[in-house]
Amino acid sequence: MSMLRIFDVAGSAVSAQSQRLNVVASNLANADTVAGPDGKAYKARQVVFQTELMGAQGVMGAMGAVGKDSEASAGVRVSTITENDTPGRRVHDPKHPSADAEGYVTFSNVNPVEEMVNMISASRSYQNNVEVMNTARSLLLKTLQIGQ
């Protein structure tokens, strides 16, 4: 039943996109975080997606017999989460409790505009995959009713 694998594929994409939304949420929550006593502020994070071959044929592929079927259903997974290394925003505020010796406060390097765009993109992709699952579900239910 190749249609049943659609749920694996779209499900993996939904979970990867929700992980991306999670990372965006923590970036936005830390948009105004200042550096602690160690001088290191929060760094913006980003997920990296990778194609993952799915299903029983993928296991067969690991044993040496790579079939076209395993290539056909490609899911997604989050391979790594990278940190943005650009220096954080520095603001001159000597009265701030976290100001350094020169009177500068280091904020996190999160760019809220970038994060909002990332969030919209993630939620659209999430919706697309939910729609794929709904369509596959209704098609399978109709297939079950053949001959009735």
Binding site: K68, S125, T143
Partner: protein
């Protein structure tokens, strides 16, 4: 006699499994819409169906196979060119890679507009194939009823 009744059912069953296959490939493309380096894939349904019915029904292929319109789906270029058998013994359609309409920095070639259109198109055609199958089943069942059953 019964083989004549089931020939059209066989044809639609092949079409249905190819539609399911295509649905799965499009779902993979949609799932990987944000994956860097992913190349969108698809297959030419008409030639895949001709190939599948030619192998499965033999004589019946002339009846149905020739009526299918030829033509390669737009934007799909030649990619992998070999036929691999699935575990069920059915020939898997040859997958081709999509030519991106707009280039992308991360070399991802999924065009969401095209994929969404193909997905809806494929699901509507899947449902119509289901209706054809239901019609054939009903015809066979009706032909097996005796006149006293009404």
């Amino acid at each position: 006699m019964i083989s004549r009744l089931t020939a059209s059912l066989d044809f639609h069953a092949q079409a249905l499994s190819l539609r399911a296959e295509r649905q799965r490939i499009i779902a993979s493309n949609i799932a990987n819409a944000d994956t860097p380096g992913y190349q969108a894939r698809d297959f030419d349904f008409a030639s895949a169906l001709r190939q599948a019915t030619g192998q499965a029904t033999g004589n019946g292929s002339g009846q149905f196979g020739n009526s299918i319109a030829t033509g390669v789906a737009t934007g799909i270029a030649t990619g992998i060119a070999s036929t691999v058998m699935s575990p069920g013994g059915r020939a898997m359609p040859t997958l081709r890679y999509a030519v991106p309409a707009q280039t992308n920095l991360d070399s991802n070639s999924v065009d969401m507009d095209r994929e969404r259109a193909a997905f809806v198109d494929n699901s509507v055609k899947y449902e119509s194939t289901l209706r054809f199958i239901n019609g054939s089943v009903r015809t066979i069942l009706d032909s097996m009823k005796s006149h006293t059953q009404g």
